[in-house]
């Protein structure tokens, strides 16, 4: 594995758009060529070296490249966008769209990530050790075809409308979620280990959502199917008792499943209210 380290200089007021910080873009380039790689500062074209110190060992093959961003880049967007192979580690916070349209490879953000992380993801692994914003693993604005593959794991809390229009792949949120996780979901698996504020699986047509924590408010468009123990979600066993729902019946032909841990959630079950 060849390591290329980008050490952030002073972070700018206006964000950087750095879709060229990927193993694919760096492959076959010398360190000088990587330094000169184009990124955008607002609406102005600039070079990586204007905002980062670059050092390390280049490689011909993207799957051999590990990019280490050694510091906080909370003003840098689109790191790892569309990457197909290799690895990126961000040793701090990052801005929006990290790992958007990702096809393969691995990204780890050790701090927090902004909104739209893993947007329209097709494959690979995106891990965020801190918190993340809204629309994690969602579709492009307006599109009805969202994340179709890969794995997103967020260790902290996330915002609204995550896994919007999800079609496939898997997302695991270890912390808490705001409103509308899995809205319009049509496939894939969304695991939420913490609590959800409201509207889980709104207008979902397919796919599976598992919520281990407490849901404050649940939508009325779900059919209650009773309690199931030690559920099997695509080969993974979740121990314990879960309320099982099917829906969202507000959408024609809906066949989504929502499992909600029994503990603390009796208030969302129709005959137990």
């Amino acid at each position: 594995m060849s390591e290329i380290t980008l050490t952030p200089k002073e972070q700018p007021q206006v964000p950087l758009e750095a879709q060229n910080i990927t193993p694919d873009s760096f492959a076959g380039k010398s360190i000088d060529e990587i330094k000169a790689t184009e990124i955008w500062h607002g609406n102005i074209k600039t070079k990586i070296e204007e905002f980062f110190e670059v050092a390390g060992e280049p490689s011909e093959n993207p799957s051999e490249i590990k990019i280490i961003i050694d510091g906080d880049v909370n003003k840098t967007k689109r790191i790892g966008q569309s990457m197909t192979a290799g690895e990126i580690v961000v040793k701090g916070n990052t801005n929006k769209y990290v790992g958007a349209e990702m096809i393969g490879g691995k990204i780890t953000v050790e701090g927090d990530a902004g909104s739209w992380a893993g947007q329209d993801m097709k494959g690979g692994e995106l891990t965020i050790l801190g918190n993340a914003g809204d629309y994690i693993g969602s579709a492009y604005r307006g599109d009805w075809r969202g994340m179709s593959g890969g794995l997103i794991t967020v260790h902290g809390n996330v915002g609204n409308e995550i896994a919007e229009y999800m079609l496939g792949g898997k997302m695991v949120i270890k912390g808490n979620v705001a409103i509308m996780p899995g809205i319009h979901m049509n496939g894939g698996v969304l695991i939420i280990e913490g609590n959800v504020v409201a509207r889980t699986g709104g207008e979902m047509k397919g796919g599976i959502i598992v919520v281990k924590g407490v849901i404050n408010e649940f939508l009325p468009g779900f059919e209650y199917l009773g309690i199931e123990k030690d559920i099997d979600v695509e080969g993974e066993i979740f121990k314990g008792a879960f309320h099982k729902f099917k829906g969202d019946l507000a959408t024609k032909g809906s066949n989504g499943l929502v499992y909600v841990g029994v503990a603390g959630n009796n208030h969302i079950v129709p005959d137990k209210r």
Binding site: A139, Y140, R141, G142, D143, W144, K252
Partner: protein, 572 residues
């Protein structure tokens, strides 16, 4: 500036020039007999095709529903993005490009005129505002008359004179160009939650049928001596078995005499996107193409010109004043749906659509469109359109040209690329005809210009014509379009040169002179001043009762037309 386009291989059907090597002289924005070789700038077109600028008779490029398409499809905007150039505006959109990009994309293909085919009268100000930001191309807008309360009321009363006076007033008020009819009586029925089926099904309350409206407006059209024929989008669009409605509709205005004050059209009816109206069967299972019967009707009758509305097998955005049809489409594909009822006048809907070549119905529709092109024998009766963006975006015209000119390409698509319904449900696999460049120039230039009534100055390269010229890097003397279909498509996608009113606007496929307004053609006619006064006072009364705007704020002022070209009808 004077130009001589030297040694080009010229296709100019209105002047019966078929591939002659010929010089074209240009002075003061017009084609002239000759200019001085020493003063003129020479454009060397040796080995290149020279045609008049393209004319699109039916497209959706400006106005409220186009803008809804842009706003609610950011995922479409993403697919074609144009950054800001030194003199170009930035823009985006594949099926519904933004205004500036619409102008650029048409010009790059050698098109210099394009018509907005559906303008709700109430929203005509918006349409003209967008025209102002759509550079280069000449244009006109077609106000919708087919579900208009006044039209239906006067026709119900049998008062064709008042109907004519109203139409004349509305064309002037909206700065519109033709009598556009969409699903006559059907969109009004949609206001009541229904639709009509066929041309003999009356609209609720008004009790007039599609046939009454088509006939009444066809008569009005010739009374007003309008340049274009009535422009009809038939009932039952997209429904299996609709071809009978289509043929019945074509027959309605037969016998009415064309009477244009300008131009030289023979047709009294222009039927649009006929591909969507040529279906047999009773449902999508027993569906079959009836394009051969429709083509046969067009072959045998001289009172009609059609455009095809070719399906291009892309992901696109459908948009039409046919509100109930868009609802049907939304229930079919389950995608997002926008809908609007335009007060006393019309309605509209917008739905994204995927014409996948692997799916049965789109593949059959692709075959139906090509059947119409290839079975209509006379290219002076058929125009090239996709009903952009409904069948696909206008930027696919070069690809359609390659399908029409290359049987080899069609065979390859039928065998390897599209669903077998193209073979099973249509006769396209049995047709070997290939268009030549003369016929391509007809369907994209001379035929639309003539039926629009603009052939004095548009669609040809004779002396006195506007100097709108397209030059393509494809040499018919050394290159075979049937074999080199990819080069053909590329050449027509990005023209070598395009001149608009005698100025170079595109060079080597790039827009070089974007800061030009196109002309707005509109009808300036007063049918009967006294009657029009009477009608106006009736209209004003209805405005107070039913409209959400004041009568005085309704008409579009001349100030909205930076390059206004009024065309006289009756009174001029």
């Amino acid at each position: 500036m004077e130009y001589i386009i030297k040694n080009g291989i010229v296709y100019d059907p209105l002047n019966e020039i078929n591939g002659e090597v010929k010089d074209i002289s240009i002075k003061d924005g017009k084609i002239v007999e000759s200019v001085s070789e020493s003063e003129a700038q020479i454009i060397d077109a040796t080995g290149k095709i020279v045609m008049p600028g393209g004319v699109d008779p039916h497209s959706h490029i400006a106005g409220a529903k186009v803008n809804v398409g842009r706003m609610y499809r950011p995922e479409d905007s993403k697919k074609d993005v144009e950054g800001k150039g030194t003199s170009l505006r930035s823009g985006s959109g594949f099926s519904v490009p933004s205004t500036f990009m619409t102008g650029y994309r048409y010009a790059q293909m050698g098109y210099t005129s394009a018509m907005e085919a559906a303008m709700p009268p109430l929203l005509s100000r918006h349409t003209h505002e967008e025209f102002e930001d759509t550079p280069i191309i000449d244009h006109a807008a077609y106000p919708l008359f087919g579900n208009n309360w006044f039209v239906m009321e006067y026709l119900k009363e049998g008062d064709i004179e008042k109907c004519a006076a109203y139409c004349s007033w509305l064309l002037r008020a909206t700065k519109g160009y033709t009598l556009k009819i969409v699903n006559p009586a059907g969109t009004e029925a949609w206001g009541w939650g229904g639709n009509v089926h066929g041309i003999h099904d009356p609209a609720p309350y008004f009790d007039v049928t599609g046939a009454d409206i088509i006939k009444g407006l066809a008569e009005v059209n010739e009374k007003l001596r309008l340049p274009h024929a009535i422009h009809l989008h038939c009932n039952d669009l997209g429904h299996p078995g609709n071809y009978e409605t289509t043929l019945d509709s074509f027959d309605v205005p037969k016998g009415i005499k064309p009477n244009p004050a300008t131009g030289s059209r023979d047709a009294v009816i222009y039927a649009t996107h006929v591909q969507f109206h040529s279906y047999g069967g009773t449902n999508w299972r027993d569906f079959v193409s009836e394009a051969p019967k429709v083509a046969d009707y067009v072959n045998k009758n001289d009172h009609i010109v059609i455009d095809v509305g070719q399906v291009t097998l892309d992901e696109t955005t459908t948009m039409t004043a046919d509100g109930p049809m868009e609802f049907d489409l939304h229930t079919l594909n389950g995608l997002k749906w926008a809908n609007c009822d335009v007060e006393l006048e019309t309605g509209s809907g917008v739905v994204p659509f995927l014409y996948s070549p692997r799916a049965p119905v789109p593949s059959a529709q692709w075959g139906v469109g090509l059947e119409l092109f290839l079975l209509i024998e006379d290219a002076s009766k058929v125009c090239l359109t996709t009903d952009s963006p409904n069948g696909g975006p206008f930027t696919r015209y070069p690809r359609i040209i390659s399908w029409l000119m290359s049987n080899r390409l069609r065979k390859d698509m039928i065998e390897n690329q599209v669903h077998k319904w193209a073979q099973r449900k249509t006769s396209i696999a049995t047709i070997d005809r290939e268009y030549d460049f003369y016929e391509i120039a007809q369907i994209s230039r001379s035929t639309p210009a003539k039926v629009l009534g603009l052939s004095d100055t548009k669609g040809h390269l004779g002396v006195g014509a506007d100097a709108d010229v397209a030059i393509y890097s494809f040499n018919p003397e050394t290159q075979d379009p049937s074999a080199e279909f990819e080069a053909l498509e590329a050449a027509f996608q990005k023209a070598a040169y395009v001149l608009k009113d005698g100025q170079i606007v595109v060079k080597d496929g790039l827009v070089v002179n974007p800061n030009r307004h196109g002309r707005t053609y509109w009808i300036d006619t007063v049918y009967n001043p006294e009657l029009e006064k009477e009608v106006e006072s009736e209209v004003e009364r209805w405005f107070k009762q039913y409209y959400s705007v004041n009568f005085d704020n309704y008409s579009v002022q001349q100030e909205y037309l930076p390059k206004s070209v009024p065309i006289g009808g009756w009174s001029k």
